[in-house]
């Protein structure tokens, strides 16, 4: 069953001529990762921050299009823009003015939303320290062969990023979280992108290996918005992510575009701010790192020449004996509002309490014994 699938994958990667096979196989296995994950976070609440939700959703749309499944994407949106009452077209989030591109789509899965988007939850997702009953869709189940894309957008300042206008994460906390991830072997390589004011301050404290970071603006610069729409009434995107999306729309799973092309996205003439990047922690040459190493997904392929027998008859358990005995009891539907039963139901059993007469009698007895023993004349010694 697996064989046709993997043949198909190889067929797409190997051209018909076999002369370049060696070279192509080299490309195919150049990255050492076996799975891809993405954590995409919008940290802003309120309608006027529509553009931050659109930013995050446009990256979500790109990584999903390039093959990362929903189960490997942790999407955090701090507010609901799509079904917001101010949205003139419900269930849509547009990234281009005149409502050209709906980045919300028809099969989005948001994992953390609304009040759930907190600094604590974000750090817990990164470090994997979540309560045991957390569902799989809310976890980052990466390993030491995972390439992780982390995208953040919101309002920030020099050295911090605000979450929901009520708390903030600092660049030191973020750097420590990545170090913890590295020590726990939760990633192979990590690409960090942030679109916020003074974004470069967020990655300057990083110290863990295999990190590559991009930011939309340098320290002291603001990131600016783009695409105002008259019908929706707000800006639809931020400049940096707008041009990033434009760049990513041209990428397809077999693209050979590398990170150096990504660094050239949105020059100062378009962005107004100066996008920054940091590669000194990254061990490979950015020119050899494909965009699809982070934005796309690898499929694990194993080749076997052994024949697998799938025709083994499934053993059926003997369930008849169990079901027979259970069927003896007659079942029926319950009365939905049993009025007389409710009225006449027994009041709840109270804890046992001695009867009032008993307590009164006990005190009488005590006083009686006291007066018998000491008499009235000794009262003055007591009081």
């Amino acid at each position: 069953m697996k064989l046709p699938v993997l043949l198909l994958i190889f067929a797409t990667h190997l051209p018909p001529g076999t002369a370049h096979i060696g070279q192509h196989v080299g490309n195919f296995f150049s990255s050492q990762h076996t799975n891809n994950w993405a954590v995409l976070v919008c940290t802003s609440r309120f309608w006027f921050n529509y553009r931050h939700v659109a930013n995050t959703l446009s990256v979500y749309r790109s990584v999903k299009r390039l093959g990362i499944p929903d189960s490997h994407i942790v999407l955090m949106l701090a507010d609901d823009m799509a079904c917001n009452h101010r949205n003139p077209k419900p269930a849509t989030v547009f990234s281009h003015k005149n409502m050209e591109l709906n980045v919300y789509g028809d099969d989005v899965e948001v994992d953390y939303r609304g009040y759930e988007v907190t600094v604590e939850n974000f750090l817990r997702v990164l470090t994997g320290r979540l309560p045991p009953s957390t569902p799989r869709s809310k976890r980052l189940l990466s390993d030491d062969r995972s390439n992780i894309l982390i995208y953040l957008t919101g309002h920030g300042g020099n050295g911090f990023l605000k979450f929901q206008d009520s708390e903030e994460i600092s660049n030191v906390e973020l750097a420590d979280a990545f170090e913890q991830m590295w020590q726990k072997r939760r990633y192979n390589e990590l690409l960090f992108i942030i679109d916020t004011c003074q974004g470069a301050s967020m990655y300057e404290r990083f110290y863990s290996p295999n990190l590559m970071a991009l930011a939309s603006s340098q320290i002291g610069e603001d990131s600016l918005s783009h695409q105002p729409d008259l019908a929706i009434g707000v800006h639809l995107m931020d400049r940096y992510t707008f041009y990033l999306l434009e760049f990513l729309e041209d990428i397809h799973p077999a693209s050979k575009t590398n990170m150096n092309d990504l660094f050239r996205v949105c020059p100062k003439s378009q962005c107004v701010s100066t996008p920054g990047h940091r590669t000194d922690l990254f061990l490979r040459d950015p020119g050899s790192v494909l965009i699809t190493d982070f934005f796309g997904s690898v499929r694990k392929v194993e080749i076997t020449t052994d024949a697998i027998d799938l025709t083994e008859p499934a053993r059926r358990r003997d369930e008849t004996a169990v079901s027979e005995e259970r069927e003896t009891e007659q079942l029926s539907y319950v009365d939905q509002l049993p009025v007389s039963e409710i009225i006449h139901q027994k009041p709840k059993q109270k804890d046992w309490h001695p009867p009032d007469g008993f307590i009164l009698g006990l005190w009488t007895l005590i006083l009686l014994v006291f007066f018998r023993a000491y008499g009235v004349k000794h009262l003055k010694h007591i009081f």
Partner: protein
């Protein structure tokens, strides 16, 4: 994932070849076969019901009018009998499964359109008593595993956006409060109910992409009488019941996506192709729900089947969006038309409520349908035009089905709902307030009992001694009151009472409350928006106009068969009030910053100047001489005389 898709593809291929085989067989036996398309659902175990036999299927069928000119068509499309035998053999290895889909459309008098999708998967299996179920066909595996793992006996979950306006729209088929509602009956083998409940809400929040993990002990209650199991079973100990609402829960596409994935056909075929989120959320009311319960597997109720019922209710405001024209079609509502039924469904029908339009004086339906059916819904006998999507003739030569209604007049009166309820907060200021709940009995001469359930968060401290229940200006003493006081940060108030509503009256329940101060970190990021209090639930036995059908095991249209009926004279409904939005006293969150600034200023100015005073040495400075004196001194210096 690839493997699963592959297996389903191969299954479809096998089934298609099987159906092809049947088609060939059938064409040998019956020459008059109209269209092979109807045989696609050879998979379904219940055989195709020809329209002549519809009387068996429809429960409260009184009149079956088949127009003369359409009769031969209906007879032609009857499937060959061979279908049943071949499929029944294949099904025997697996518990009997059945899937039905329905779309009910009711034109409302306000000009809106109420569309209700109903999907039901019935599975003759047993999740009880730790029975391991490993092979799934139509029933979604994700929910099956949840039922087994957490020993759930019944699960009811709904996500709703908007408020159902009972006075304008009448009663919905299945009521739901705004936001999210979840109530679960656990099996009596569960020892740690609270722990299981917490884990279950976490898992469900993952399945439905919702913030159900915010359900904790502060918003969970155990109603003593309001929620009884809707499925079969004899245990009704409310220790195994948990009920919670999240009135602020957002409902959007991300909730609809996983909901659609639970359907056997997904949104690829059948009625579910109509579910485009841009249209479904551009509406006045949107509610999606999942109900799982054990039901009778046979008419004698000796065996149990598990029922998964998925419903989606939408009210479209076509009157305003259609520039005042009262015309609608499936395409206008959903921006899609139908091309086929779900091949896995044993029945796939569209019902249009034509009760108010017996002679076609109010609106015209195109295409017309020969089938009419009657069903008792919410104490009233309604007439429906039925379109059977499993019949190829429904789609006509264009192979597409776009139902249209053209209105002729806008007259007509709605039957006023016999019961409705509303609620509001009264009072002023940020310290105290009063909750008013109004329950209306519109019946002219019958009184009936209602059970009111109120679950109020702990930060509104109810003054229970101020509780009053009055109807028609007189005190109306509840015959049953269950009150559980709240504990700060642990559990909410629970108030349940059974009240008899006199005929044609308004009953008002008032209770005063005090607003508590929260801790600094307990406020939400947008505290000035206010805090929500969930809807009150009014459960009631309303006198019925027509005799209700008390046989709950008989096949009925899905929309009319949810609440089991015990007696003929009344029917059970649940009515939800509006959720409340209450302002709490909100501190100035920049206060710590202000305090720091102020303290620093005081320290800098006060202490600084004092320190300055204490550490400085003072010297007496000689006053500088005046200008004339200085000039005189300069002259004296030049003369060599000592200065002045």
């Amino acid at each position: 994932m690839a493997a699963r898709r592959h297996s389903s593809e191969s299954l479809i291929v096998i089934l298609f070849s099987l159906s092809l085989f049947i088609v060939i067989n059938a064409q040998e036996t019956t020459q008059t076969l109209g269209n092979p398309d109807i045989l696609v659902d050879a998979k379904a175990e219940v055989p195709e019901t020809p329209p002549e036999q519809e009387k068996q299927w429809e429960p409260t069928e009184v009149t079956e009018t088949t127009r003369v000119e359409d009769a031969p068509v209906a007879a032609e499309s009857a499937p060959p009998a061979g279908t049943t035998d071949s499929t029944a053999g294949a099904q025997r290895t697996h518990g009997k499964e059945d899937f039905q889909e329905e779309l009910v459309i009711r034109p409302l008098h306000s000009g809106d359109i109420y569309a209700s999708f109903q999907f039901r998967t019935l599975w003759e299996t047993d999740f009880m008593k730790g029975n391991k179920v490993s092979h799934y066909r139509l029933f979604p595996k994700s929910l099956g595993q949840v039922i087994s793992k957490f020993s759930v006996r019944e699960l009811h979950i709904s996500f709703t956006q908007g408020y159902w306006r009972t006075m304008q729209w009448g009663q919905p088929f299945l009521p739901a409060p705004p936001g999210a509602e979840l109530w679960v009956w656990f099996q009596d083998t569960v020892t740690d109910v609270d722990g299981t409940w917490k884990e279950l809400t976490n898992v469900l929040s993952g399945i439905f992409c919702a913030s159900l993990n915010f359900i904790d002990s502060t918003n969970t209650v155990q109603p003593s009488a309001s929620f009884k199991p809707l499925g079969i079973g004899n245990v009704t100990d409310h220790r195994f019941l948990r009920y919670a609402t999240l009135p602020r829960e957002i409902v959007c596409t991300e909730n609809l996506t996983p909901w659609k994935k639970l359907l056997p056909c997904g949104s690829k075929a059948g009625l579910a192709v109509l579910m485009k989120s841009e249209k479904l959320f551009h509406s006045s009311f949107h509610s999606e729900a999942v109900h799982i319960r054990p039901v009778c597997g046979d008419p004698q109720c000796k065996s149990t089947s598990w029922e998964l019922r998925q419903t989606l209710d939408v009210v479209f405001d076509l009157h305003t969006s259609g520039q005042g024209k009262r015309e609608w079609s499936l395409f206008k509502m959903f921006s899609r038309t139908l091309t086929d039924a779900c091949p896995l469904a044993s029945s796939s029908k569209i019902y249009i409520d034509v009760t108010d339009n017996p002679e076609g004086e109010h609106f015209d339906l195109t295409p017309a349908t020969p089938l009419l059916s009657q069903a008792t819904v919410l104490g009233d006998r309604r007439t429906f035009s039925v379109y059977d999507l499993t019949q190829a003739s429904t789609f006509g030569t264009m192979r597409t089905f776009n139902l249209q209604i053209k209105w002729k007049s806008t007259k007509g009166d709605m039957l006023r709902p016999l019961l409705h309820a509303e609620r509001y907060v009264a009072g002023y200021g940020l310290q105290t307030g009063e909750i008013h709940t109004l329950m209306y009995n519109q019946h002219p001469y019958r009184s009936f009992p209602v059970l009111l359930l109120d679950s109020v968060p702990w930060y509104l401290r109810l003054y229970v001694h101020t509780l009053t229940v009055t109807s028609k200006g007189k005190d109306n003493k509840p015959s049953y009151i269950h009150y559980q006081p709240s504990k700060d940060r642990v559990r909410p108030h629970l108030l349940e009472m059974l009240v008899q509503l006199p005929p044609n009256s308004v009953t008002e329940v008032t209770v005063q409350f005090e607003r508590a101060l929260l801790k600094w970190t307990e406020y939400t990021p947008d505290p000035n928006h206010g805090f929500y209090v969930g809807s009150s639930v009014v459960s009631s036995l309303v006198p019925s106009i027509v005799a209700m059908d008390t046989n709950n095991t008989r096949d009925q249209p899905l929309f009319s068969s949810f609440f089991p009926t015990k007696e003929e004279s009344s029917y059970f409904i649940r009515v939800y009030t509006e959720p409340l939005l209450v302002n709490l006293p909100t501190p100035d969150f920049s206060m710590p910053y202000n305090v720091i600034c102020l303290t620093c200023t005081v320290v800098a100015v006060g202490y600084g100047s004092l320190y300055n005073l204490l550490t400085r040495n003072f010297q007496i400075e000689e006053p500088s001489p005046g200008l004339a004196k200085r000039i005189a001194n300069v002259i004296r210096k030049m003369r060599g005389v000592p200065p002045l």
